[in-house]
Symmetry: C2
Subunit: 386 residues, 2 copies
């Protein structure tokens, strides 16, 4: 899977440095605690203060059990006397959220101890390595907005489609106030649940709003792989059917059913990975619809893009581009060639040309949700600054 | 698990009748199709037009794989040449939704092909046997309400707690209209996601409202096992902490943040199984708060209950009691002694005493969600008839 390639690269390099580090006999601290993403009452998987993860799977008659996390080939578990298989990652994991899966006797299953999150076109196990900055997406005693599931009619796909709409804490206090809207897209193999479940977009917004760091706005999240009936091949993926659903059906529905500021200056679009590519394609075609653009680990906007897009300079109020630092390493801050060019150099060039261009690098994270949680936190305050 | 006992009893009796039927060599029709609750793109599990379920699990090196559905001891799968394990239930399953799990080499896992649903204090696999009356909870081209996730402050449990609020299709059209509210509880081992995910409560309401069969009202669903920190023992369960959250915290929050009719005549409570027991306990203690009571496979209200509850006759506008037919079989329409007496006889006695008492039996279903989907469909039109 394309979006795991940089993760794999990272894990390989981690594996290498670990081999070096092992001559120092690194001590694994014995302060393991259940992951915050475990199913209720489940003791495993566990995480320690260094970021090591420990797994325990009961399967007494199994021949082999391994976990996909922890380096190339994952972490093999060893059978203990009580019939459970136990193992610890060979190296600490990056801060934040990671998808994983089990291999049990050659079959792929989820960890019965962990909650599941939709990624890679399936519900996968998830584990959370507590991050030093986790407070910004923590559930706090502040006013909370809502995440509303809507079912909107879609003529082009002949069904009712699902979307989630974050409304800020004060949305239902006034019956007249209107709000700007950010359309926020998931990555390949994920769906419209990702930004709330894995991303904590609602809690990030609740906390930013409570601190007065961002204007309140709505966030709309829907499924972006509209045409991918066969599920699993990014090669057959086309943006066009999603573009029709988003611009022709969802946006008019949102504007008719929520108290939005329904004009171009108050409408943004952002997305992670594949969702960034969708964002670039769709916003540049519809500069009458969107004024703010965010690409999280999902491409760049170059001076050539600006030049070849009539009205760009006049209509675009923000270009926000971000990456995880581990996606850029060893490549002079650029890399990820598939997305087209050096994103930092492009961001700088746009700024020099007078555009409102922001570039953010999430420290010590890869192509994973911790990068994107931070990207949302960084971008939100820059939106809709009239 | 208590709530599976009747299911087990049913499956045992099915097993017996199947042994008899097998002398007739029943033909299993070859019209298997993927279950509607499969993960995207997954071919298995499958269901045929008779209600047989077929499972296929890839685990080439496994020694044994079985599925918990299909009779006492479940359905053992057999290994095929391609490394996959395949098996079909020995008998058709009842119409509707069933939880299940896999046993792989002595470990408990979910079916990687199926979606997961929270039941039995864990996310379990789910399969749907198409019901002859499935139209009433189908996703149709009608106006749709929303399911809103809220996080409400709870002093008694020192956290923000989650609830889901169904708002009917026209809730956001008028900014002044106010609505009655039904508080609707899940069963033991389930949570606040059950009534939307497994129960399709939102679609049931959307369809009833579209047909003009019920008044629109809000439905509020939250977690009812408030004190069960250890997860798993119904013996240690106490209603009191949930009563505090519901009556002291959630109801005031809902009335302050949604356009409700916030008086006793416009407030109902219902629940399934353990949620029915909670409903009975809480409503009878708070007849100043609730006027309509629904118990789905979760007890009965007897003439003695009425007599020993001051103000019952004056304050209660509806007592709705329901069961699945298979829960009552062989027991003269009564049975389920643990819930206290014969529910049909009690319902009749209440009616004779002049109370608005309704009793419903879901045909050919057990202690499972198809009984409760139908119970909601039957009860909704009886609520809030001023």
């Amino acid at each position: 899977m394309k979006r795991y390639l940089p993760v794999l690269a990272l894990l390989i390099s981690l594996g290498v440095s670990l081999c070096l580090a092992q001559t120092d006999q690194p001590t694994i601290k014995d302060d393991f605690r259940p992951s915050t993403l475990n199913q209720p009452g489940q003791e495993y998987p566990q995480v320690n203060s260094q970021g090591y993860a420990r797994f325990r799977i009961v399967a007494p008659q199994a021949q082999s059990v391994s976990v996909s996390l922890g380096g190339r080939g994952g972490t093999p578990l060893k059978k203990t006397d009580d019939g459970a298989w136990i193992g610890t990652t060979a190296a600490p994991l990056d801060e934040g959220f990671h998808y994983y899966r089990l291999s049990v006797d050659g079959g792929t299953f989820n960890d019965p101890g962990a909650l599941n999150f939709y990624g890679s076109i399936r519900w996968e196990s998830g584990i959370e390595i507590p991050a030093h900055d986790q407070e910004f997406y923590a559930l706090k005693d502040v006013p909370h907005g809502r995440v509303q599931q809507i079912l909107f009619p879609s003529k082009s796909t002949r069904t009712s489609r699902r979307a989630f709409v974050y409304t800020p804490p004060d949305y239902d206090k006034s019956q007249t106030r209107r709000y700007p809207v950010l359309y926020l897209q998931h990555g390949w193999g994920e769906d419209e649940t990702a930004w709330s479940n894995q991303g904590h977009a609602n809690l990030i917004m609740d906390n930013l709003i409570a601190e007065g760091k961002t204007k309140p706005f709505l966030i709309v999240m829907t499924y972006g792989m509209t045409n991918d009936a066969k599920m699993g091949s990014i090669g057959s993926f086309s943006v066009a059917p999603f573009e029709t659903v988003l611009v022709g059906e969802l946006i008019p529905y949102i504007d008719a059913n929520f108290r939005t500021l329904s004009d171009q200056p108050h409408r943004a679009m952002a997305g992670l990975s594949m969702g960034g590519m969708e964002t670039k394609t769709i916003t540049l075609k519809h500069l009458d619809v969107f004024s703010h653009i965010g690409l999280f680990s999902g491409g760049t906007i170059s001076p050539e893009d600006v030049k070849s897009t009539p009205g760009f300079t006049k209509n675009v109020k923000l270009v926000f581009v971000s990456y995880g630092s581990r996606e850029l390493g060893g490549n002079k801050g650029g890399g990820r060639g598939g997305f087209g060019g050096d994103p930092k150099a492009n961001a700088d060039a746009l700024k020099q040309a007078g555009l409102n261009s922001a570039f953010y690098v999430s420290p010590d994270t890869a192509h994973e949700f911790q990068s994107w949680r931070r990207s949302l936190r960084e971008m939100a305050p820059l939106l809709f600054k009239d």
